[in-house]
């Protein structure tokens, strides 16, 4: 699938801020399911800082804005060709050992509900089947309901509430998988929405579970499927905060509001601008 992506985040401050620093994880992963045609990140008034590929295989880019400023816009535009790999993250170069993803964070801290959910799958034939069953259980237990949870909602809280968005589904699945001794992580990216009214957002998140012999496999309990060619993978972490596409902080007393616009559009073919990959 050929996708054209536009992702703009506008930060506004009620008072001028200075020395804004951002760490961006906004560049598509390099693996068999994705081929980036062109990709550009700009931060208004900003200086591009260090860029490097980290141990998880993510391209990280630092930006600084000296300011003072009351508005900073992060714009991502790019074109990418995707392919369905049945959720398997094949050909992805990374150095971190899967066992490092068994550690819980505040967002995935297990409690009774999560233990019950994780323990409810008793007849899985192998780890892959177990992962699928856990994902289905999370889909059943948490109904898609935007606005009922927020960024700091934990997996346990969302499960108790029975409602949430993709972040909550991913956290709950990660917590459940780790309880069954399966390394699991949070993935942030984009999703091409194909059907009107279906529960998914263009800025999306899902989980990956490490299955012996297969490697990392994506599961999207919010949409009851594994990532396919509609998905664009950006990066991963132990939880939403760790995998956040944008982490930033500014000096000053300004109160921040933000506007996000994401558009993932399918195109017939790419106009011939640049055939090279931006980062590899």
């Amino acid at each position: 699938m050929k996708l054209r992506i536009f992702h703009q985040t506008v930060y506004r401050y009620d008072r001028p801020v200075r020395n804004l620093v951002q760490s961006l994880r906004l560049t598509p992963s390099v693996f068999e399911g994705q081929r980036t045609h062109d990709w550009a990140i700009t931060v208004s008034g900003g200086t591009r800082g260090p860029g490097f590929r980290d141990g998880a295989g993510d391209w990280i880019e630092g930006w600084t804005v000296r300011g003072p400023t009351e508005e900073v816009t992060v714009t991502v535009t790019g074109r990418i060709e995707t392919r369905d790999t049945a959720g398997v993250l094949r050909g992805h170069r990374e150095l971190i050992h899967p066992l490092a993803y068994l550690r819980d964070t505040v967002a995935t801290e297990p409690e009774e509900g999560l233990r019950d959910l994780a323990g409810s799958v008793t007849d899985a034939a192998d780890p892959l089947a177990l992962a699928h069953r856990l994902s289905a259980s999370v889909s059943d237990a948490i109904a898609y309901a935007p606005g009922q949870t927020e960024f700091h909602t934990t997996a346990a809280e969302a499960l108790a509430q029975g409602q949430g968005v993709c972040q909550d589904h991913a956290h709950a699945l990660i917590a459940a998988a780790r309880l069954r001794d399966l390394p699991a992580r949070y993935v942030s990216g984009y999703l091409r929405s194909t059907t009107e009214g279906e529960p998914h957002e263009a800025a999306h998140a899902w989980a990956e579970i490490h299955v012996q012999g297969l490697g990392w496999v994506g599961f999207d309990p919010a949409n009851r499927c594994c990532p396919d060619e509609r998905y664009v993978r950006l990066g991963s972490g132990l939880d939403a905060s760790d995998a956040a596409p944008i982490r930033g902080i500014a000096a000053g007393q300004g109160i921040e509001t933000l506007d996000v616009a994401v558009n993932v559009e399918e195109v017939e073919r790419f106009q011939n601008q640049s055939q090279s990959q931006t980062k590899s």
């Binding site: 020395n19 620093v21 951002q22 760490s23 200086t47 591009r48 800082g49 260090p50 860029g51 490097f52 980290d54 141990g55 998880a56 990280i60 630092g62 600084t64 000296r66 150095l95 971190i96 050992h97 066992l99 490092a100 068994l102 550690r103 132990l238 905060s241 982490r247 930033g248 902080i249 000096a251």
Partner: protein, 469 residues
């Protein structure tokens, strides 16, 4: 249990202590009391009132200083020094390995889970090789002695071991109060430590630095119990003492605000724990760190000492594998021995420990400062049973060791000199070279019979002498 007395063999005075023995014998009691009061006043005036690494407690409490020095012969020290350097090389090789290809794990010589599920293992720095491959630049290795030739390592401190200012101040105060002692004895100096530390820091400047490296000491601030030491070391090294807010990231580098405008910083000797270093990489709520620091670090724009993630090498569970690291990476036999350690998450060890609690020392895996530990032979039946319940509740949280017959050094008490148990923390510097100043910090358990030297448990400090040839 009999204990090795470092000064006396029966009633005979051991050679290195011969002159000190005369000094003590000819010292009138009132003179000693006067000097002791003088020492205390000096410490107070300098303001050196802080707790040693992670011990907590009242930060304004003075750690008692004992005027009776501890003495090592040159040959004793040389042997220790070789063992410490060997251990430091192995610890850094281990860190380089587990943040890279992890050959030691692949070879099955250390369990993968112990490394990767360790809280101190930082996945954010996997694949990052700091300058010269050094992760831990200042390693404090805690040693105890059990006989003339037997030393054991109690623990390694690879993050930011503190207490070195005590080593320096103890010497300074002894020289000020008893200059005659230093004329009559050939005592190796320790005051070159700040220069060596600065040289070590400069030697690990990033490749992108093409001038004399600018080093800083990064402190969490004056509320920290070791703040005195941070300012003391910065001052002696002639570098700036900064807090997180004094530094900022611009583009690919870190800068410090100065009255002459921003100045690029190349090497940060940080005394802030990993989780607080950078809110964009670790704890988002940290106000102590520098936003964006880790991105600059990971792309080679600045060096951080010790490197983030270095703590995975000094955990009490990893400790049991350090001799294995020496064999694996260096192909040598360890010169310094570990204390035999039972890990309570293993069934056999658990059974043995529970059957022998009255004879053993049991510690929490992540505990420090002598808190949360059981010294079996020094505990009542009730205390042992209470501790047994704690172990049963969470065996994975404990390790056990035999009760060591810690050596004693004569120490001034109300009645005169009396033997008290001691340990030793030398500070090993790792940069382009591995260096140690002779000696280190001697901690002494001031309570009669006590085997716990931590300052929070009534420990004091002594000047430590290494005699030259």
């Amino acid at each position: 249990m009999s204990y090795y007395n470092e000064m006396y063999e029966g009633s005979r005075v051991r050679e290195p202590y011969a002159r000190l023995s005369q000094w003590v014998e000819t010292m009138p009691a009132d003179f000693r009391q006067m000097k002791q009061a003088e020492a205390e006043a000096l410490f107070r005036r300098i303001g050196i009132t802080f707790a040693v690494y992670g011990e907590g407690g009242d930060p304004d409490r003075l750690i008692p200083f004992d005027m009776m020095p501890r003495v090592f012969e040159q040959s004793e020290w040389r042997k220790l020094e070789r063992g410490i350097k060997q251990r430091a090389r192995a610890l850094n090789a281990f860190l380089r390995d587990v943040y890279g290809r992890a050959e030691i794990v692949r070879a099955g010589r250390i369990p993968a889970r112990l490394v990767y599920q360790n809280d101190a293992y930082e996945k954010a720095v996997v694949g990052v090789v700091p300058p010269r491959g050094v992760y831990s630049h200042i390693i404090g290795i805690d040693l105890v002695r059990t006989s003339k030739d037997e030393f054991f390592v109690l623990e390694d401190n690879c993050r930011t071991p503190s207490g070195v200012s005590y080593m320096l101040e103890n010497r300074e105060i002894m020289m000020r109060m008893f200059p005659g002692l230093f004329r009559g004895n050939r005592i190796e100096p320790v005051d070159q430590y700040p220069d060596l530390l600065r040289r070590t820091l400069e030697s690990v400047a990033p490749a992108k630095c093409n001038d004399r490296p600018t080093c800083v000491v990064l402190t969490p601030g004056h509320f920290n119990s070791a703040y005195y030491e941070h300012s003391f070391l910065a001052n002696l090294m002639g570098v700036e003492l900064v807090e997180g807010a004094d530094l900022f990231v611009d583009g690919e580098f870190v800068f410090m605000r100065t009255t002459q405008g921003p100045k690029r910083v190349d090497v940060i000797y940080r005394r802030i724990d990993d989780p607080f270093l950078d809110p964009l990489c670790f704890r988002p709520d940290s106000m102590l760190g520098v936003p964006g620091l880790m991105d600059v670090y990971r792309s080679g724009g600045v060096s951080i000492c010790s490197a983030p993630g270095a703590g995975v090498a000094d955990d009490k569970a990893i400790y049991t594998f350090v001799p294995e690291m020496v064999r694996f990476y260096l192909g040598e036999e360890p010169m310094l021995q570990n204390v035999q350690t039972w890990t309570l998450w293993k069934d056999d060890d658990y059974r043995y420990v529970m059957e022998n609690l009255p004879d053993l020392v049991v510690k929490e895996v992540h505990g420090s400062g002598g808190y949360g530990m059981l010294v079996g032979p020094k505990s009542t039946k009730e205390e042992i049973e209470i501790f047994r319940k704690k172990i049963e509740a969470d065996p994975g949280n404990y390790i056990a060791q035999p009760t060591l017959a810690l050596s004693t050094c004569p120490t001034f008490v109300a009645e005169g000199l009396a033997p008290r148990h001691v340990d030793l923390r030398p500070y090993c510097l790792c940069g382009d070279r591995i260096e140690l100043v002779p000696g280190g910090l001697t901690r002494v358990a001031l309570r009669e019979g006590s085997l716990v030297v931590n300052s929070s448990q009534g420990g004091g400090v002594k000047d430590t002498w290494v005699l030259s040839e």
